[in-house]
């Protein structure tokens, strides 16, 4: 029984392969299948080139955008850095003096430049002293220090209406230690953006 089923299956395979052979043999009559193929191969690169170019342009645009973003970010970072520097960079004074040292003038020039770009910024200049000396006199000295910085900025063209001063005397030391290093740090004018 199983044997006859096997024979039937083989027969079926033989017939269907024969049928297949007949149907495949038909196209072989025409001799130019390669031309068609060529046409297709010719057509394909043209489309991909266009797409590639588009992709390239897209990529370029993306890159440019990214670059711009990065540039803007860098600019913003630099801007923040400059702003931070404007705030954090103090100018320093000699003991019991309110005259501007050459280094302080250089820093003030940078600050003036920054202020001339950022025209909406209003600044308070704090005058500070070291702990030596008496409170009352140091309040006056701190006032003179802030005022020295203010006058220098006015001379560099910054509008007086953008500049205010406040003296803290010896009341707000930056470095609480009681030595030369701390005193030198504490004798300062500090800039605050309002």
């Amino acid at each position: 029984m199983a044997k006859t089923l096997g024979k039937c299956f083989i027969l079926f395979l033989a017939i269907s392969s024969l049928l297949f052979a007949v149907s495949c043999a038909k196209p072989k009559v025409k001799p130019e299948p390669s031309v068609v193929e060529e046409a297709i191969t010719e057509e394909m690169p043209a489309v991909s080139k266009q797409m590639e170019e588009m992709k390239k342009m897209e990529e370029e645009r993306r890159l440019a955008e990214e670059q711009l973003r990065e540039q803007k970010l860098a600019e913003r970072e630099r801007e923040a850095e400059l702003r931070e520097r404007f705030v954090n960079e103090n100018i320093h004074f000699e003991f019991d003096k309110s005259t501007l040292l050459p280094e302080a003038k250089e820093i003030l020039k940078e600050k003036a430049e920054w202020l001339s770009i950022h025209r909406d910024v209003i600044v308070t200049m704090e005058g500070h002293c070291d702990e030596r000396g008496t409170n009352e006199y140091n309040l006056a000295l701190g006032d003179r220090r802030a005022e020295s910085a203010k006058r220098f900025l006015i001379d560099l063209g910054i509008s007086v209406s953008r500049l205010t001063t406040v003296s803290y005397g010896e009341e707000r030391p930056l470095d609480p230690r009681h030595n030369e290093e701390a005193w030198a740090k504490n004798r300062r004018a500090h800039f605050v953006i309002d």
């Binding site: 309040l139 006032d143 003179r144 005022e147 009341e171």
Partner: protein, 440 residues
């Protein structure tokens, strides 16, 4: 409310009766103007308990000690050691007729102060007598009645009487000292009685508060505070919650000081470009500008007649003390020694100006004659000593000192003797200002 309180207070302390009305001999026992004062040897035995049950052992000792401490504060008295006394205080007689003056003279006492106390039903009675042991006479005798916690007030009143009789000048026992302290973490103004007792916080600005200044009637205090992120001047009543005043020109508003007699204010403003001294009404309106200089002019302090003021200026390059005569419109330099002389205060007697100057890297207290006499250095080798302030009789000077590490208020006689700490409080205490005399 306040009036009622005051009424009760004045009633409770007006019970004072003179035991003996005697003709005051015009003798001045103590010349407070002498720079070389000899202290008077004085005996103050424990008071006598006049009650029958002898129940007030603590009180008789406490009040006698308080009397001794209060008097010694002036620097005029040398208290004798009670162990040397020949008389048992509880058996001692309190009146002139029965006191054995020889016993007091033999141990060197020139003055004797005795007291008797009775306390019954919440009423405290104290009788106090001051005797001249050599003259065998009663100088003052007073009997006081009050509440149990009036003891300190009564002792201070009697001490004022003693000083008035012995020196011819009123005592300072109703004065206070205002100062700056960092107890809360911020600089705030505090005040204490003249002897450091009864400390209380006066301002609560939660910021920087500096330079307390008393009005001539001792009812108002002006000071500098950073309430609005800059130094402005505030004027506040010492006891009552009355509307205060604020002086807030552009820039610096510092060093408020009242002008004696006229009840005007003076202060430092930088509104015209640099720190200058101005004269103001007591409500803060500018009357006129008093100094004209390119540099710093600050810290005014007035002569008792209000016609001159001393101040600090760096017009010569370093901070020095100058005097301006308003009648003559002249300024002269007062200090030449040292390169940093600040915080002047004109003495209430008018002859000297105290200030702090730097010597060998440290601040010390000096006094200099208004005519340039001296200067005399009153502190040395004791850390930094700053901000001298005179007692209203001109015999004592309070100042801040770092001699114990943290900055504290100290007191000394105006010749520099008897330097001692006034009070203990956490934090640093600076910038003391002694009040004028006043009545509570």
């Amino acid at each position: 409310m306040w009036n009622k309180k005051r009424l009760i207070l004045s009633v409770s302390l007006t019970f004072l009766i003179s035991i003996v009305a005697f003709p005051v001999a015009a003798r001045v026992y103590i010349d407070i103007n002498s720079p070389y004062l000899k202290k008077i040897p004085t005996a103050i035995p424990i008071f006598k308990d006049l009650g029958r049950d002898n129940r007030h052992q603590d009180l008789v000792k406490e009040l006698a000690e308080l009397l001794g401490d209060t008097l010694s504060f002036t620097g005029f008295f040398k208290l004798l050691d009670p162990d040397s006394f020949l008389v048992d205080p509880q058996k001692a007689e309190l009146t002139r007729d029965l006191i054995k003056f020889d016993n007091w003279r033999s141990i060197g006492a020139e003055l004797l102060i005795n007291g008797g106390i009775s306390y019954k039903n919440g009423v405290l009675k104290i009788e106090l007598r001051l005797f001249d042991t050599f003259g065998r006479r009663l100088i003052i005798g007073k009997r006081y009645t009050g509440h149990i916690d009036d003891g300190r007030k009564i002792i201070r009143r009697f001490c004022n009487e003693i000083i008035h009789h012995l020196t011819g000048t009123e005592g300072i026992f109703n004065t206070r000292i205002a100062f700056v302290s960092t107890t809360t973490g911020n600089k705030e103004i505090y005040m204490a009685d003249f002897d450091g007792y009864n400390i209380r916080q006066f301002t609560n600005t939660n910021n920087i508060t500096l330079s307390p200044a008393w009005s001539p009637d001792a009812q108002w205090l002006a000071y500098t505070a950073y309430r609005k992120k800059k130094p402005d001047i505030y004027i506040k009543h010492v006891r009552r919650n009355l509307p205060g005043k604020v002086i807030a020109f552009n820039g610096l508003n510092t060093t408020p000081v009242w002008v004696p007699i006229q009840s005007l204010l003076s202060a430092t403003f930088s509104k015209d470009g640099n720190p200058e001294i101005y004269l103001l009404t007591s409500s803060g309106k500018i009357i006129k500008r008093l100094t004209y200089n390119w540099g710093i002019d600050t810290s005014p302090t007035w002569s008792p007649d209000g016609k001159k003021f001393a101040f600090v200026s760096n017009r010569s390059g370093t901070p020095q003390i100058y005097i301006k005569d308003l009648d003559k419109n002249q300024v002269r330099r007062l200090t030449y020694k040292g390169s940093y002389n600040t915080t002047p205060e004109w003495s209430p007697r008018g002859d000297f100006i105290a200030y702090s100057g730097v010597t060998n890297g440290h601040f010390n207290i000096f006094i200099v004659g208004v005519d340039g006499e001296g200067p005399y250095q009153l502190t040395r080798d004791t850390g930094d000593n700053e901000s001298p302030t005179w007692s209203p009789d001109g015999t004592l000077i309070a100042f801040s000192s770092t001699r114990e590490g943290s900055t504290r208020i100290h007191v000394m006689n105006s010749n520099g003797s008897d330097q001692r700490r006034l009070l203990i409080l956490s934090g640093d205490q600076t910038c003391p200002r002694w009040s004028p005399r006043h009545r509570y």
